[in-house]
Amino acid sequence: MAPSKPTRITNRIRALRFGHDEMTQAQLAERVGVTRQTIIAIEQGRYSPSLEVAFQIAHVFGVPLDEVFQYPGVSTGSEEGQRR
């Protein structure tokens, strides 16, 4: 059975991890200060992180928040900036 997704927020954590020397979920979890299971749940869209955790994840990858998390139907600030 496919896991349900209680949140509409999508994310690029998996892609960003692979783009950062194939960072493991455990390594990201350690740097953010959460359990590996929480990173898995966030990646799979089963848990919406708190704003603080979301910023911490973005900080680890050195990118703005909206390059990590997206909300469908809402254009991101980065996309707006690229259009200009």
Partner: protein, 139 residues
């Protein structure tokens, strides 16, 4: 499975198991003895204490079988715990209200004690199940 999720499994197994053991002891007595003479206090206290010990043992066994990366609860664990407590609190409220009604209506102490105990057991079981669903399906 995180350390906290293992703890929830242990709590669920111990709570449900202890109550089943309690019923297995008390119900046969209830069938052959007038309610006012049924001895239920010692089994109630013993199964409650046993449930705490069983929870500790089950959690330790699960931890030995599948060691956790970390034993610290994080923000998701706390969110899920809060959700479970919040959603299942009505079981305790229901047990307390039933206890009040029993006292007002002069029920036997046996029924008052047991309906309150049932409220606590349902609170533990329902809260644990909701937390496990949240761990598995998302919050």
């Amino acid at each position: 499975m995180s350390y906290e999720e293992k703890g929830v499994w242990a709590y669920l197994i111990s709570s449900a198991g202890a109550y089943i053991a309690y019923l297995a002891i008390v119900v046969p007595r209830l069938l052959h003895t007038p309610v006012s003479q049924v001895s239920y206090r010692v089994p109630l206290l013993l199964t409650t204490i046993a449930s705490v010990i069983i929870a500790t043992v089950v959690r330790s066994v699960l931890e030995v079988a599948r060691p956790s990366d970390s034993k610290k609860a994080d923000v998701r664990d706390r969110d899920i715990a809060r959700f479970g407590e919040h959603a299942s609190r009505w079981c305790v409220v229901g047990g307390a209200i039933a206890g009040f009604i029993g006292a007002f209506d002069h029920w036997d102490y046996f029924w008052i004690g047991n309906v309150i105990y049932l409220g606590f057991v349902l609170w533990a079981v329902v809260g644990s199940v909701l937390r496990l669903v949240a761990y598995r399906r998302g919050l």
